[in-house]
């Protein structure tokens, strides 16, 4: 049973996107059943650092508080995860009561301030790969065909992706030297290409995936699958999309007119 006096936090802060980062420590009075979000809320109420100085409250993002939106993703003790589902009692149990909980912003995205990052590029890539089923038209086209239950079994988990960025954070091939867009958008293409109506735009999505920064940059380190908070089998989806994009690439090469 953990019962420390304080929750000791060490936060990597930055006052604006171009400022140099620095570490700041906080001691928040312990309460049972806290999560990292509620600890940060305590700091917001009383923004005093461990040295007793009054500082700007730590900036971070959160929204759903039930691990479905991805907004509060950060590195907690070096692990990319959501701070809403990071329960402090569990962290103290796992790392020891005297452990300092470190919070850092994700390193593969532009930092706006403190723990707040800009994941816009992930949403831009979802737009590029047309991660939706187009049904809007001038008249009602009625109900579409249903997915077979067997397809549904593997396709549904992909729809749990919340574009949180953990997979990109852990991927060694996503870095400032490469253009790799990461696994999340690739998996979405598998989902929407499996849908009977979505499949009508299959090639448009595949065309995006073979662009610069596309699926070919995957190096099979398979960290993505390990860190995905939604347990999406990203490595299987990458392999399946390798098959689809290879087929597309050869079809284009042999039959295309480009």
């Amino acid at each position: 049973m953990v019962n420390p006096q304080f929750i000791h936090l060490k936060v990597k802060r930055r006052s604006n996107p171009t400022a140099a980062p620095y570490w700041e420590e906080f001691k928040v009075p312990y309460q049972p059943n806290m999560n990292v979000v509620s600890v940060l809320m305590e700091i917001r109420k009383n923004p005093i650092n461990a040295k007793g100085e009054k500082v700007d409250p730590v900036v971070w993002e959160c929204n759903c508080l039930e691990e479905v939106c991805g907004a509060c993703t950060m590195l907690i003790n070096g692990v990319p995860r959501q701070s809403c589902s990071a329960l402090t009692d569990k962290l103290l149990e796992q790392y020891g009561e005297n452990n300092v909980i470190t919070l850092e912003p994700l390193t593969k995205f532009p930092v706006i301030r403190d723990l707040m990052i800009d994941r816009q590029l992930m949403f831009d890539n979802l737009k590029k790969v047309k991660a939706w089923v187009p049904v809007d038209g001038s008249w009602a086209i009625g109900r579409g065909p249903r997915l077979a239950d067997k397809v549904h079994q593997w396709a549904y988990p992909i729809s749990r992706c919340m574009t949180c960025g953990c997979c990109m954070e852990a991927c060694p091939n996503v870095n400032s030297k490469s253009k790799f867009i990461g696994p999340a958008a690739v998996a979405q293409v598998r989902l929407f290409n499996a849908h009977p109506i979505g499949a009508m735009h299959k090639d448009m999505r595949l065309e995006q995936l073979v662009k610069k920064g596309g699926i070919q940059e995957c190096g099979n380190a398979q960290n993505c699958k390990r860190v995905c908070p939604k347990n999406i089998n990203l490595t299987a989806h990458l392999a399946a999309m390798n098959r689809q994009t290879n087929g597309y690439g050869f079809r284009q090469f042999l039959m295309g007119d480009k």
Partner: protein, 217 residues
């Protein structure tokens, strides 16, 4: 300012997709096949030492277009794979100490062995193909290298690194070409590739040891 913002699929048509796929394909066909044949021919030293090996090499030399085949089937694919491979090694920002998963280490080792193999191959080809050429001389040079403990150790490192790069590369090849998709097939094939690495490494080490204990000419 962070440059991550440009990590968005571009509208330009300058993709390296085909080059990456070619890089993966030629590593197995023909380079992987060549490596297997190479090892098989080397293992002729188990039959009657130098003589059977020399007989085989002399026979190979009589094959038509052998130089053209060496250049087109062996040299060009290896050079392309090696040069583009350096770029791929450069592209990764390895994090195996932070994410200590088995596959992440395999990914890191694939890149380390890539560089070892590159250096080893330049040495190997220079010493045993480009600077010497006459079969008897080649085997004498090799036997000399393998009788020296330092160069023997370097050879073991180079050969085992090559076999790791080959075996792990076969596994990732199966993912890159969408052959192993599901968890079970990836698990089974990872085991197969691991066993292949152990067996082919032992086979290669046995050949090197055999040559190192044969009397010098």
């Amino acid at each position: 300012m962070n440059r991550e913002g440009d990590r968005v699929l571009s509208n330009k048509n300058n993709s390296n997709f085909m080059i990456r796929r070619l890089h993966s394909l030629i590593a197995v066909i023909p380079v992987g096949i060549f490596v297997c044949v190479h090892m098989l021919l080397n293992s002729s030293v188990f039959i009657s030492g130098n003589e059977s090996y020399l007989a085989l090499i002399n026979f190979m030399k009589t094959a038509p277009f052998v130089v053209i085949l060496e250049v087109v089937v062996i040299a060009i694919p290896i050079i392309f794979h090696g040069l583009y491979g350096i770029y791929i090694v450069y592209l990764a920002k390895n994090n195996a100490l932070k994410y200590t998963y088995y596959r992440n280490w395999a990914f890191y080792l694939q890149r380390i062995t890539a560089l070892i193999v590159l250096v080893f191959l330049i040495w190997h080809v220079w010493v045993l193909r480009l600077s010497t050429h006459e079969p008897q001389l080649v085997i004498n040079t090799l036997a000399g290298l393998l009788h020296n403990p330092v160069t023997f150790a370097l050879y073991i490192i180079g050969v085992v690194a090559s076999m790791y790069h080959f075996a792990n590369g076969l596994f990732t090849f199966c993912i890159t070409w969408g052959i192993c998709v599901g968890d079970r097939s990836q698990k089974v094939f990872a085991t197969v590739a691991g066993a292949f690495f152990v067996l082919i490494s032992l086979f290669a080490i046995a050949i090197l040891v055999k040559i190192s204990i044969m009397p010098l000419a």
